[in-house]
């Protein structure tokens, strides 16, 4: 009987853990570092927040291209997906870049890469928080 109880309880516990892990990943995507903060991984939380935040500030300050949903081609769509990876910082980037993008010089081009990298890095940290919440070694 004990085995049956245990066997029945484990899938339920796993499903709950998966749900919590999913919400932690979403939180980590929306606010960089929040996923790790919820798991009390403070060092990783602070460094994720600072790294992604600084990349966004520098990228927008260098007048990199913040892609919007109304892109013309596949590269614009991919750029939008990468930028969207920064979560709420995407909105901050659009606000910071009041004068619009200027990729006619190298600085603007670098800025575009900084912004895209910030997004991809944040997605990576959110995935890391998800795996840690699932109990995988992190």
């Amino acid at each position: 009987m004990a085995d049956e109880t245990t066997a029945a309880a484990v899938p339920g516990r796993n499903a709950k853990r998966e749900t919590i892990a999913f919400f932690i990943a979403v939180a980590g995507w929306l606010v960089p570092g929040l996923g790790h903060a919820l798991l009390k991984m403070w060092g990783r939380a602070v460094m994720s927040f600072l790294s992604v935040g600084l990349l966004v500030i520098l990228g927008a300050g260098m007048r990199g291209n913040v892609f919007s949903s109304g892109g013309n081609d596949a590269f614009d769509a991919l750029g939008f997906l990468a930028d969207l990876g920064t979560g709420t910082f995407y909105l901050a980037a659009t606000k910071l870049e009041a004068n619009g993008a200027d990729v006619s010089h190298a600085g603007g081009d670098y800025g575009t890469r900084f912004l895209a990298t910030a997004g991809v890095l944040n997605l990576l940290t959110a995935l890391h928080a998800y795996e840690a919440a699932r109990g995988r070694k992190a």
Partner: protein, 64 residues
């Protein structure tokens, strides 16, 4: 750097900043112990710069 939200960085400054930020983030994500993190960050930063400067020199003949 200019005042306000306009940053004017050289190629080298941009590459250094990029490499440093990514190396620190990777170091904190992939290693747990502080000493391991420092080693990873320094090694990653070194490789970023080595490969960046290496690619720059590899492209140099084509710029003339």
């Amino acid at each position: 750097m200019n005042a306000g939200m306009g940053f004017k960085l050289s190629h080298l400054q941009s590459m250094l900043l990029f490499a440093a930020l990514i190396s620190v983030a990777f170091g904190f994500l992939s290693r747990r112990r502080p000493m391991d993190r420092v080693k990873y960050i320094l090694w990653s930063l070194f490789l970023f710069l080595l490969i960046g400067v290496g690619i720059g020199w590899a492209m140099y003949p084509f710029s003339h």
